[in-house]
């Protein structure tokens, strides 16, 4: 089989909806990923290795905190930021996860809830990739329901003492800084965010092993035992569970674009493969109606997903987006990407399970993406609540 090279997917003149700059951002990122990530990703995935060598180049291109303004950040529009996420995830969901966490879950909360000192201390270093970050919300016993968290912060003189366990934390053991969400005892258990340097005594990160998904991204459990931080490490404007949910909204928006990228990778690979692979009477498998049905389904769903997420992006740029819009895009686009990956896997037959092709990796990655940042079903409930006015959680 000749090597299959990604050609992009544009069925409905989607590109005509983008500005010249938006296309340039997309094309540049696509080129970067094609030349720098694609050649190494299968090896990373096999070895369970995060491609740390890409941190510096990605920082130089401006991928970290790309949509924030000032502090060395690129000040991209939300659509431009989304297109970067799409292309990163076309490469690998794990690498996109890393950038999402650094940008939307570490830099964004410092940007949105931090003091001026915190911002000028951390944002430039995180933007340059000199410091890496992680986001600790989920706990072993609290995933979809983070409000039940047990991690506590107690004020002692001019310090806070943190205790608790966090689980499934992306970049946990490679992070220099963790945004830890904890209930503050002296404030009626209100959830607030803390900047915790990971070299503080009592802070420990242990990687999750045996993952069959997002193998090119680090996932860790964090343990905080009497970790002391000065009171200036509290994110002053963080207030209640709403704050981490605002961060998740940023990240979910990027994931909705990412889903399109992963789906494009699977679809384009399956399309090219189906035209090359011959079975029965020396005909390409693409000539069979059952194969065409799968390709038709995929291209239709990808096209719908592109339009959906672009509209959400345009609303976000106009400051009119609501959280249920983002939920719809995350839920739909990750689901359709996973379905595309499964169909593409099927079209490739036995070749579909091998890492000569990117499909099985995307398929396994997308299983995590379906779960994190609000599971598919939790987003169903968010949409249900939005249209009925009745919470069903």
């Amino acid at each position: 089989m000749p090597a299959i090279k990604f050609r992009g997917v544009d069925f409905l003149e989607f590109d005509a909806l983008l500005s010249d700059d938006e296309r340039l951002v997309r094309d540049t990122t696509r080129k970067f990923i094609e030349e720098n990530l694609v050649p190494i990703i299968e090896e990373c995935n096999r070895a369970g290795r995060f491609p740390r060598e890409l941190v510096q180049p990605m920082a130089e291109l401006g991928y970290f905190g790309a949509s924030l303004k000032g502090y060395g950040c690129a000040g991209m529009s939300n659509v431009e930021y989304g297109l970067v996420m799409q292309e990163l995830e076309r490469g690998d969901s794990g690498v996109r996860s890393f950038v999402s966490v650094q940008s939307a879950l570490v830099m964004y909360p410092i940007y949105a809830f931090g003091s001026e000192e915190q911002k000028s201390l951390w944002l430039p270093a995180l933007q340059k990739g000199e410091k890496l970050g992680c986001f600790g919300l989920t706990e072993p016993d609290f995933g979809s329901n983070p409000g039940g968290m047990r991690t506590r912060a107690r004020k002692v003189d001019k310090r806070y003492v943190l205790n608790g366990e966090k689980m499934w934390i992306t970049s946990g053991s490679i992070a220099d800084v963790a945004i830890i969400w904890a209930k503050v005892e002296d404030e009626n258990d209100k959830v607030r965010g803390f900047i915790v340097e990971t070299d503080r005594p009592g802070f420990k990160a242990d990687d999750v092993h045996g993952k069959w998904s997002l193998r090119a991204s680090v996932t860790s459990g964090l343990s905080l035992q009497d970790v002391h931080v000065p009171e200036c490490n509290l994110l002053p404007a963080s207030s209640g569970l709403r704050s981490p949910l605002m961060c998740l909204n940023q990240a979910r928006y990027g994931i909705a674009w990412g889903g399109v990228g992963a789906a494009m990778a699977c679809y384009d690979c399956a399309l090219q493969y189906s035209l090359l692979r011959k079975q029965f009477r020396d005909q390409p498998i693409a000539s069979h109606q059952l194969v065409q049905e799968k390709l038709a389904w995929m291209i239709t769903e990808i096209t719908k997903a592109q339009l959906l997420v672009l509209q959400v992006g345009r609303l976000k740029d106009a400051d009119k987006v609501e959280h249920q819009h983002i939920s719809m895009a995350k839920r739909n686009n990750v689901w359709m990407a996973l379905e595309c990956a499964r169909m593409a896997r099927d079209i490739l037959g036995a070749n579909g399970i091998a890492d000569d092709y990117p499909i099985m990796r995307h398929l396994m990655n997308l299983e995590s993406v379906k779960t994190y940042e609000g599971t598919h079903d939790i987003h169903t409930l968010i949409l249900g609540s939005s249209v009925t006015g009745i919470d069903a959680f």
Partner: protein, 256 residues
């Protein structure tokens, strides 16, 4: 150093090509990209500027879509751009293209002009050389390295069979740059954002019309080569078969 880089937009290398209705060129609606050696020429200009200071200006001749080449160059770090915007530049011969550039830059004072070695579509490798003649400047082709010297620059030219030539040239001069002279950078997100505010001068046809004559290039017909397969079995005793085979390979197929 003030450097002008001539850049061309060409059909993407791996884009599937279809002939136009008259069969004289390809259909307009393919994907386009920067001509590869031009991208290296731009990169070299940016590196020279980073070393010695100065300005990098990019110029292209082509329809509105060709502005993408300039935008990308500005995003990578060029300071300003000139766009000779007209569809008539598609398929114009190198002599007239050079004349148009010459007319468009007559009020500028460059130390160096770079072009790519040749374009990926027509492949003439002439535009830069002719432009040098029009300017009355020295030129050197297939450049693999540029060093500033006391009297001007010292360049390394790629010859055939792994040979190189080193030449000292006074400034101003025109150089045609070979792909692979350096490692290309990517446009950064901040670069793309800043490019919006950089000057882009549009030159319309009437401004350079008087410099241009009739197109010296005419494509009569373009066609996809027909694949033909012919199998011939040479029979007889092995010695004779070998003799006939050698004869055919030498005189008919001409591979020996």
């Amino acid at each position: 150093m003030k450097i002008l880089v001539c850049m061309k937009q060409v059909p993407q290398k791996d884009a599937p090509l279809e002939l136009n209705e008259t069969g004289t060129w390809i259909r307009e609606d393919v994907s386009y990209e920067v001509n590869e050696p031009d991208a290296y020429a731009l990169e070299e200009a940016l590196r020279q500027k980073e070393k010695h200071g100065g300005e990098v200006v990019v110029i292209t001749a082509g329809p509105a879509r060709a502005a993408q080449v300039l935008r990308e160059a500005l995003a990578k770090g060029a300071d300003r751009a000139i766009h000779l915007e007209d569809h008539a530049f598609v398929g114009l011969d190198p002599f007239n293209t050079a004349q148009a550039f010459f007319a468009a830059i007559k009020d500028e004072k460059f130390d160096l002009i770079f072009t790519g070695l040749q374009s990926d579509d027509y492949g003439y490798a002439q535009t830069g050389v002719i432009l040098a003649e029009l300017l009355g400047w020295p030129h050197a082709t297939i450049i693999m390295q540029i060093e500033k010297s006391d009297s001007g620059i010292r360049v390394k030219r790629e010859l055939e069979a792994g040979y190189f030539q080193f030449v000292d040239i006074p400034l101003p001069a025109v150089l045609t740059i070979q792909s692979g002279i350096n490692k290309l950078r990517y446009a950064t997100l901040i670069g793309i954002k800043q490019a919006k505010n950089k000057p882009l001068r549009k030159v319309i046809m009437p401004e350079v019309q008087s410099a241009i004559g009739g197109n010296l290039q005419k494509i009569e017909r373009l066609y996809v080569p027909q694949k033909a397969k012919n199998t011939e079995i040479i029979e007889g005793p092995p010695g004779e078969v070998a003799k006939k085979l050698v004869d055919k390979l030498r005189n008919e197929v001409r591979v020996l």
